[in-house]
């Protein structure tokens, strides 16, 4: 991919992810997160992972993040008040995070090679090649994820459903109301 593209997307991604962490209002954080996801998706596209890139945007941005949005609305989350206490933990956490960043950078700086268009087969990242892997080598995993999703849906409903006693629920359908 062109260096310019990488730099642009990378900067956007980092800034917006910082926004996720640093902003007060949950909805701003959410938008920042969406921004990050979109830029990462764009990076996927630039990495010839076309299908996954679009899926990233469709699934993450188009579905999961909307779920977050709904929850923000449902709970009517406002901006956090000024953080109180726990500064010691924050301090050490910052140090730990810095250390982790250092480690990871050293670690990944050992990754060699640069992107040439040459080293991928034609049709790499296209939906058929993905499908070949998904429905070939990873079929079992694919099917089991469907079960996972089903379970997740049921679990989510079971957890989040508010159980209302009959009297509060009022007259149910079919019962005469007067």
């Amino acid at each position: 991919m062109p260096v310019g593209v990488f730099i642009f997307l990378g900067v956007v991604a980092i800034i917006s992810s910082l926004g996720v962490v640093l902003q007060r209002s949950p909805i701003h954080c959410l938008l920042a997160l969406i921004m990050t996801l979109v830029s990462i998706g764009a990076l996927f596209l630039a990495l010839d992972a076309v299908t996954v890139g679009f899926l990233q945007i469709i699934v993450y941005v188009g579905a999961i993040m909307v779920l977050f949005l709904f929850v923000i609305w449902l709970l009517n989350l406002q901006a956090d008040e000024a953080p109180t206490g726990g500064l010691g933990l924050k301090f050490f956490a910052t140090i730990a995070v810095a250390a982790m960043a250092a480690e990871l950078f050293i670690f990944f700086s050992k990754t060699r090679g640069a992107m040439e268009a040459a080293n991928v087969a034609p049709g790499y990242g296209s939906i058929d090649s993905l499908a070949q892997s998904l429905f070939g080598q990873y079929l079992m995993a694919f099917e089991s994820t469907s079960i996972l999703l089903l379970v997740a849906v049921i679990g989510a409903v079971a957890i989040a459903r508010r159980t209302i006693p009959q009297r509060e629920r009022g007259p149910t359908k079919g019962t005469p109301t007067r």
Binding site: M1, P2, F6, G10, A13, I14, S17, V20, V21, C29, L30, L33, T36, L37, L43, F44, A49, Q56, V59, Y60, I64, L67, F68, V71, L75, D80, G86, A93, V97, A101, L104, F105, F107, F108, S109, K110, T111, R112, A114, M115, E116, N119, A121, Y124, G125, S129, L130, S133, L134, Y138, A141, L148, V151, A152, G155, A156, V157, I159, A160, R162
Partner: protein, 102 residues
């Protein structure tokens, strides 16, 4: 024409990942912590795609696909939990959710 080297992309994913970790460790709002976790997931996805690209294999992308699926499930359940917590405790502040303690 100069091209991007993989180490840059990995560094980017590392940066996003650590930012996510910081969010989990520092933010008090469990909701934002949750979002930070998504951030970390995506950083990992980026690393996967990068390496897949480098090795010219689809496996990394397949894993990303699965990560998305699991993330969807995780989001559903996690948000449901957050909702029920909020119903019972009227807060999303992690500091006030300390029931599981001595």
């Amino acid at each position: 024409m100069m091209t991007v080297s993989y180490s840059w992309l990995m560094a980017l994913s590392a940066a996003i990942f650590t930012i996510g970790v910081a969010g989990v460790l520092i933010r008090r709002n469990i909701f934002v912590m949750f979002m930070s976790i998504e951030l970390m997931l995506n950083a990992v996805n980026l690393a996967f795609v990068t390496m897949a690209r480098r090795m010219g294999s689809m496996d990394g992308q397949v894993i990303v696909f699965f990560v998305m699926t699991v993330a969807a499930a995780e989001a559903a359940v996690g948000l449901a939990i957050i909702i029920s917590i909020f119903r019972n405790r009227e807060t999303v502040n992690a500091d006030e959710l300390k029931l599981m303690r001595w």
